[in-house]
Amino acid sequence: MQFGIFSVSDITTDPTTGRTPSEAERIKDIVTIAKHAEEVGLDVFALGEHHNEPFFSSSPTTTLAYIAAQTSTLQLSTATTLITTNDPVKIAEDFAMLQHLADGRVDLMLGRGNTGPVYPWFGKDIRAGIPLAIENYSLLHKLWREHVVDWQGKFRTPLQGFTSTPRPLDEIPPFVWHGSIRSPEIAEQAAYYGDGFFANHIFWPASHTQRMVGLYRQRFEHYGHGSADQAIVGLGGQVFMRKNSQDAVKEFRPYFDNAPVYGHGPSLEDFTRETPLTVGSPQQVIDKTLGFREYVGDYQRQLFLLDHAGLPLKTVLEQLDLLGEEVVPVLRKEFASLKPAHVPDAPTHASLLAARDAKEEVPA
């Protein structure tokens, strides 16, 4: 099982000091955070994409390439790449390029984006979000698998004799996760292609995530990619830890109360009860995270959100230390002991390459 972190790249005033980091500072900090994720033994770093303030990450592949150059094992991913407003041709090119530079340590998570004003800036309409996601991905899928593409669709100019360059590393497209909070169509899309499904799992109750993952698993089997329990599932999660759980609650509360997304709403206590958010000791994080498996089944990737809501870099790095030293080693062992042998790990470039070579060696 893969463990990692994901960042939404928000630039938020620290509510305890009133200090707002500059863009330059947050951008350099995210590189430090990603590198530290590798240092403490995490597997994945995923970065969001936004085209509006107060977020900095408009160009994830640039950032990820820079991180790739300074790491050696870290799997680089996104959370999410906008399949609606980006040109699928550019996604195909950018991520193939990143694959080459990062020696294959690349996958990506596609999402629609729910910020209404962003769509028209890219000539799109949020009301066509689902059709855009479906058409754009069908083209992206083709561009990575067919050398010369003739294509015509509804949302972009037709392609005649187009070849997306560079070709995917070893002709193996990056593994794709489809992220969604509440659209069954996206679970269906992930299942149809046999791709991964990533449930946001931050803002919604467990019962909701359970239904979405359940639908994806059932349809994954329907489309013949394997049994339902072999489908590739990832979950988000949100934690804040201190050795002593009361210290964690006390320190995190002002960040929670003023957080851009859910601040000034439910109490920290309500939110921890209703959603997967865990604020407490490393042991509490271990217990709650192991509980996710009870409602989504054996899953392949767990990403935590750590650097948000104005938390200072020092605190985020301390959180990474706790995650790497006390939480993830236990989770790795526990999840591994529970997982049946027929449930696969999340595909990586190395595993996909090995699988293809094994297939080619079998005489016809």
Binding site: I130, P131, I134, E135, S138, G153, K154, R182, P184, E185, E188, Q189, A191, Y192, F203, W204, P205, H208, R211, M212, L215, R219, Y223, V261, Y262, G263, H264, G265, P266, D270, F271, E274
Partner: protein
Amino acid sequence: MKQRKLVVISAGLSQPSSTRLLADQLSAAAGGAAARLGVHLDVQFIELRDLAHEITDNMLTGFPGTALKQAQEAVTAADALITVTPVFSASYSGLFKSFFDVLDKDALIDKPVLLAATAGTARHSLVLEHALRPLFSYLRAAIIPTSVFAASDDWGANSVEGPLRARIDRAAAELAREVERREAAVVTDPFALTANFEDMLKNL
């Protein structure tokens, strides 16, 4: 006897509240009228005051807390609704509106809804027509023709058989008829797929 579900939504804030009093009378009258048509109404009351925090939280987080979720599910599954709001600043109360703001916009489609309001004076009575009826038209509810307004004068009237009583009975009878002639409400699963992927690809 047919079994049907009636949900009564009351946005009164005080205890006791005249809004709840009107809701109780409408509910009792609807139960009686339905029984005469061979329908047993299973009645559930929702007091929005109890959900006030969760309604605001839902606006901010995008998902309902446990108690609000149960209330939303009850409304969605109901065969009929009675909604009663106090008049605040010449309209329904903000809490009343907020409850419907965070409800799925399709939850009330073709659902019989009896509209009612309370206020200090009869001068506010057209709030039912100017504010409540357009709201429920937008939500595509099957609005009962007779709506019921009660002012302080009505509660202080000399006779319990006054014009308010007659209006309650007429509205309740109309609601009962709508419930009686309809099939039981069917709840659509929000996670259910409506098309398979090949069709989605084809029908972009």
